[in-house]
Amino acid sequence: MHEKVDVLIIGSGASGAAVAWSLADTRMRILCLEQGDWVKSSDYPSNGRDWEARLFSDFAVNPNRRARPTDYPINDANSPIKVVNFNGVGGSTIMYTAHFPRLHPSDFKVRTLDGVAEDWPIDYATLEPFFAENDRMMGVSGLSGDPAYPPKQPPMPPLPLGKSGTRFGQAMNQLGWHWWPSDSTIATTDYEGRGRCINLGHCTPGCAQGAKASTDITYWPLAIRAGVELRTMCRVREITVDANGMASGVIYYDAEGREHFQPAEVVILACNGVGTPRLMLNSVSAKFPNGIANSSGLVGKNLMFHPYALNYGYVDEPLDGNRGPPLCLWSQEFYETDPGRDFVRGYTFQFGRGVGAIIEAIVSSQAGRLPWGEEHHSAYRKLVNRRIGLSAICEDLPEEHNRVTLDPVLKDSSGIPAPKIDYTISANSHKMMQHGIARAREVLTAAGASNICVESPILNGGWHLLGTARMGTDPERSVVNPWGRCHDVKNLFIVDGSIWVTSGGVNPTSTIQALALYIADSIKQRLADLFD
């Protein structure tokens, strides 16, 4: 039995780190339990000659493939999009591209504006100061003046255009379409102890230089210095409740498999849109026979991914390939609803600089572009470092049949039931993806590319895990209230992507963290009557 803490946070990723840092100034006793471990920068693949190969082993994006002892399996057989994540201090910020757009003002009002799904109970203006604070904490590079967003001021200049970005910029200008340097959490100047980007080019599976912001090197050092305890290699099995139906703590297993009970006054879940509903559904009691805080029946439902439609082609000269951060530009040309289209809502284009030599060989072989035999060499030389591509990140609307449940058979190495994903791509999303594919083809053609190829949806493209414990004012239609507190359990909070009402069409990390800071601030404002 451990000493009781004031606040117990489960998960040390994007949102867990932000809420821990923000709450630290209350001087409460705060503990975070993380199922993974610290990852040293010297462990990242870009330190070694096997840097691309490790994308297929211990740094694979898919946890079923990666299968580290710190990972849990996911039954994703009934989904055309597979869940990708990382388990360790920093969570999936270790394994992301650092593309850092915010949701737009319209994303919070989809029912009012477009008559679909539901409005969020908060708005862009409410989150704006927390976006700015998070940009400063994570260290965002970018360029002010984007007409697709309300004014904002990234603290560092943008990533370089390079040869690939220049081609795309020229193509988009030719078409008369919007494009802009992406907000990115890759430091372009020395920033708060982090070295500037030196174009290792292999950003997604961790940055050996430390230029990419993952929360193990941004929020956590400050939170720990302020007194927060971070306990690693602790896999939580369930949230326990007392006789009054309040959360009393959690049961977890340590690295040696020993069971512990950790009591707490307040429990905060930050385990992402799959891990959080999994833990809630595993937390069964007489008071909550269907999982904790699940009187609405919505825990695990309304899973949203963002289907990705990828187009790429090949040009007649070497470009940047893998020699720089992979994403440097976005376009919001097709983001807002257009009544002239056959779908509602929209998508972001994110532009890719290129891929490495081995990835090019493997993908081209699978696609049948790369012959076996003597012709292999000449064919490959027309492909390597000549690829440019762009993806449409499509808004996924909430549908209850897209869900996370507990697999009746599959368990993790601690014997805890694993999550099962049931997911289909909606008709609206399909139409949106087809629109994105057609427009991307125009962009690639304008950029001088030929041999245009499509991967839609990207199979291992379930980076964004949203909507499975959504926020709202009605306890029958939502799991948490407008400031992240569970309707059913007044000392249980959720701060990760689970609480999203709709998904927007952008990478979500910026908004997830802004929401976590907003919820932390809401808790601090209400400390005297937090459970009323």
Binding site: S106, P147, G176
Partner: protein
């Protein structure tokens, strides 16, 4: 040369198949994937794909009616083509391991104009580009919808 997880027959077939996928090229001055050093790397790198690769090699032997490595060159080409045509996850795993070892070999990388080194710590240079390209976008009116 270590054979690690494969039988001697399987290793011999895998090496012959690797050479059929990527043969040496005098024109580009590169070895084939059956080169001793590259093939040793392949054998060391089976790890998560070992079971799939064993399944693929069993299929290859069945298509060959025995050892693939013992076939005459013309017959090898025919069988390799049929093997590729059949597809499947085991084949994909086998080809992936061959490619990821071949394209990190120093001699191959140099022939492609790539530096045989890890990305860190030297990194790369990416040109800044001409930001005046953004001028037409800067001139656009507000695109986001107002909600109030």
């Amino acid at each position: 040369m270590p054979d690690l997880d494969l039988t001697a027959e399987q290793a011999r077939d895998l090496r012959a198949l690797a050479g059929a996928i990527i043969p040496p090229s005098a024109a580009y001055a590169v070895p084939g994937a059956d080169d001793e050093r590259i093939f040793a790397d392949i054998l060391r790198s089976l790890e998560r794909d070992r079971d799939d690769i064993c399944r693929a090699l069993t299929h290859l032997a069945a298509l060959s009616g025995g050892a693939f490595a013992d076939l005459e060159p013309a017959r090898r080409t025919e069988v390799a083509a049929a093997f590729r045509e059949a597809g499947g996850a085991p084949l994909a795993a086998l080809v992936r391991v061959v490619l990821l070892c071949y394209y990190r070999d120093d001699r191959v990388m140099i022939s492609l104009g790539l530096e045989p080194r890890p990305p860190f710590p030297k990194g790369h240079v990416v040109e800044q580009g001409d930001w005046s390209l953004l001028d037409p976008v800067r001139a656009r009116p507000r695109m986001y919808r107002l909600v109030d």
